[in-house]
């Protein structure tokens, strides 16, 4: 079982390293990332939303839905922490133990 796992990890690693060769060059203008919607954002962010910092325009306007999800994740994490870690006050715990 251990040998099988080792072989699996080695094969997966070789495949991933082999895949690096097909990644676009760093800063390649023809790569998929800058040829899709990125150029639209860069050209139109100032006219669309009067925001010189187009990173903010993408984050909070074009991709607001994504940012909304991120924010909800943060609040959900806080709620989960409270649910797991919140202890009741000592007297409330005692009352419950007596009633058992």
């Amino acid at each position: 079982m251990r040998i099988l796992g080792f072989v699996l990890i080695v094969v997966l690693g070789v495949v991933l390293v082999w895949g690096i060769g097909d990644l676009p060059e760093r800063g390649d203008p023809q790569a998929p990332a800058p040829t899709h919607v990125a150029s639209y954002y860069i050209e139109n962010a100032l006219d669309d939303s009067n925001t010189p910092n187009f990173v903010t325009a993408v984050l909070a306007d074009y991709r607001a839905y994504d940012t909304f999800g991120e924010a909800v994740v943060v609040v959900t994490a806080a709620l989960a922490c409270l649910l797991i870690l919140l202890r009741r006050r000592e007297d409330e715990v005692e009352v419950e133990e007596e009633s058992r």
């Binding site: 939303s49 009067n50 910092n53 909070a60 607001a64 943060v74 994490a77 806080a78 922490c81 006050r89």
Partner: protein, 144 residues
């Protein structure tokens, strides 16, 4: 009056630093249109200022910023952000499409202010959430 550590220096420096940290945090939140930064970064700074109060002053910080305040701020900010998203649906846009939030206003202005309010809501939400996590981890919600 000194805090948990009986140290005048720690007390004075904390009291001097916290307002400065908070003012700079609000600057970062509201200046996202022109410089790096925004809601997440400024919110973390606000949370850090409250946690500094908690560590240095101990008991007194719970009178200044109650234990329940964190999750309240986070919840209200999330609710307002969600409402901002649904208002634009009401007037015919998509979720969080600020150009439709107030009918009749200039779309560019609306998107500018939509980004502004989104950043403010995110800032308050991160602030409240991180303080709530800190309080839950440290005190477990029991009256100290």
């Amino acid at each position: 009056m000194t805090g948990r550590f009986e140290s005048v220096f720690l007390d004075v420096v904390t009291r001097a630093m916290v307002p400065l940290i908070q003012v700079f945090a609000f600057y970062i939140i509201t200046h996202g249109h022109y410089s790096p930064g925004g809601g997440f970064q400024g919110g973390v700074m606000l949370a850090a200022s409250i946690i500094l109060l908690r560590i240095a002053l101990g008991e007194e910080s719970y009178r200044r910023f109650p234990r329940e305040a964190g999750i309240w701020i986070a919840g209200v900010a999330t609710l307002l952000f969600t409402l901002l998203g649904f208002v634009s649906i009401l007037f015919g846009g998509n979720f969080l499409e600020y150009a439709y939030v107030v009918p009749g206003m200039d779309a560019v202005e609306l998107r500018y202010w939509g980004i502004f309010f989104a950043e403010v809501f995110i800032g308050f939400l991160v602030w409240g959430a991180l303080v709530a996590i800190y309080d839950a981890l440290v005190t477990g919600g029991v009256e100290a």
